[in-house]
Amino acid sequence: MPGPLLGVHDLKTQFFTPEGVVKAVDGVSFELNAGETLGIVGESGSGKSVTAMSIMRLISPPGRIVEGRVLYDGRDLATLSESEMQGIRGESIAMIFQDPMTSLNPVFKVGWQVGEPLMLHRGESKAKAFASAVSVLAKVGIPSPGDRARDYPHHFSGGMRQRAMIAMGLTTTPKVLIADEPTTALDVTIQAQILELLRTVNREFGTATILITHNLGVVAGMCERVMVMYAGKVVESGPTEDVFAHPTHPYTWSLLRSIPRLDAERHEPLKPIEGLPPDLIDLPSGCAFHPRCPFAIEKCSRDVPPLNRVGDAQLAACWVTQSGTELPHA
């Protein structure tokens, strides 16, 4: 069996602010196989986006990757020079962003921007890249792409812009596509279309996808594997079905429990996770989730739990479940 396409090992990214060191990503490891879709979920500030930006080496000061390796195609991206990294970005690993309204340059025609990776990486002329862009825009479902490519971004709706962003990522048929909350800024019907498109891209281009989201429903529908992050650490990971059926970390359990259910009684209150996400400068001792955890034991506030195997392919970092206690049905 060939090795994974992308391997992240003990990645640590920190931001050196006047208030202190923000440990945004604190020892994250995971692997991504060719053609696979991996979901990364977690609250705001859990380090999902910083993980993605670190893989792309797009962290700017005061942030810095302080430790860890990002192995792609036998090379450690964390040690590449900036110009070598420019050859990877957009060519092998593409990224699409949360807000399609601001992710396109307002002064250029959409077709020109979508074709830009081809000019950058394949040395294509402006005219040839534009023609290629039109055909990719057609593939992502932009109607009359030949005309729309001559439009400016402000002529596009949010959904159309996100399609254009996806097209931009796909022009070079990258091996990995990182989608950072690609549907958060879109309305619900458009969200479904964009997710459908990402699924098609994954199937037809064989592009491995990292889908960053805080929407568990999206993960259930899209991802073969899921990784749950909390306070810069992976707290649980595994095949989506296993994790959703048997959450083995109280944080995952709480997230799943907080989803409103269709079969709930009317007026039944929502079940939020009590408390606030932790301060990343001054993390709680031991397990960062212990102040909010309904199952916490004394050891949780003392020692950091390791990420251990709890099922066939499921990993969790929790003292409670590792000691054999089963969490109640979510």
Binding site: Q98, L104, N105
Partner: protein
């Protein structure tokens, strides 16, 4: 299963779109500019001065039939509308109209050259400082502070003594101070554009710093350059005329609107037109430049109105 790519909003027949939709920012700005009558009239006047400057030797050869330095001591202080001298002659019998024509070469040449050089340096410094931030930004902007803190008139006097003023050196001397404010403005604009998502998105496509600055940042701050450049032109023309008047700029025998005033102030009481013509010309040129600059600003930044 439904073909997901076909899951697009239902195809609606094309609807008529308002005229302003479907135009780029630039086209919209130019169309706003074209509708501004005062602005267009001022622009036309500026263009007229430029054309006069470019064709001065032709006009002198075929219409006024004289040269800016040819003297006629038998016909000094001729009144306006006297035969062969539409605007009269000066103390050495030189034709005032011809001298004004050649003066346009000095004013327009220095005006446009100084604006262009200031914009080029200011844009480069502002883009680099704003894009990289941190230490580079700090050093460049402190240098700008120093440049802007120097009283420019003393700098001009010093430079005029060090370098023999010609059209090119005088333009460079004026530009050596003028770029500072432009650098500041551009840097400010870059700071706001830099944080926009498309900068990161473009970096994620594999674009280099140089490409990001030149291909993506510059077009987004170009309106600042166009607006400031237009407004700055008037002030350069005025500064240059003042330097000439003080004898620190272009010196006779080359005529300039400024040095024509120097010579004529002596004769103000018996030949007022010698002061009037260059004075009015400078006034018109600066007014046209400022009004045109205002029109350009309104067209490119409608929020400021």
């Amino acid at each position: 299963m439904i073909d997901p790519i076909a899951v697009e909003a239902p195809q609606v027949p094309a609807q008529p779109v308002p005229a302003h939709v479907g135009r780029s920012y630039w086209r919209a700005a130019f169309s706003r500019l074209r509708r501004n009558r005062i602005g267009m009239a001022s622009g036309a006047l500026l263009l007229f001065f430029v054309l006069v400057a470019l064709t001065a030797p032709l006009i002198a050869g075929f219409i006024t039939h004289t040269n800016y330095s040819s003297q006629d001591l038998t016909n000094t202080f001729a009144s306006p509308l006297s035969p062969g001298h539409l605007l009269g002659t000066d103390d050495l019998g030189r034709d005032t109209l011809t001298r004004l024509l050649f003066g346009a070469q000095v004013s327009m040449g220095i005006g446009f050259l100084a604006v262009f050089v200031s914009l080029a340096i200011g844009a480069a410094v502002g883009l680099v400082a704003g894009y990289y931030g941190g230490l580079i930004d700090g050093l460049l902007m402190r240098f700008v502070d120093v440049i802007l803190a120097i009283p420019s008139i003393f700098l001009f006097i010093l430079m005029s003594i060090l370098f023999k003023p010609s059209t090119v050196t005088l333009a460079l001397i004026i530009a050596s101070v003028g770029w500072g404010s432009i650098a500041r403005l551009v840097r400010g604009e870059v700071l706001s554009v830099r944080t926009r998502d498309f900068m990161v998105a473009t970096r994620a496509l594999g674009a280099s710093d140089a490409r990001l600055i030149i291909r993506h940042l510059l077009p987004n701050v170009l309106h600042v350059l166009i607006v400031f450049g237009s407004l700055y032109l008037g002030s350069v023309i005025l500064t240059e005329a003042a330097l000439d008047f003080l004898g620190l700029g272009i010196n006779p025998p080359i005529p300039s609107w400024g040095n024509m005033l120097t010579n004529s102030e002596t004769f103000f009481f018996h030949s007022r037109w010698l002061v009037l013509w260059p004075g009015v010309t400078i006034f018109l040129a600066v007014l046209a430049a400022n009004l045109f600059g205002n029109a350009v600003r309104d067209a490119f930044d409608p929020r400021l109105r």
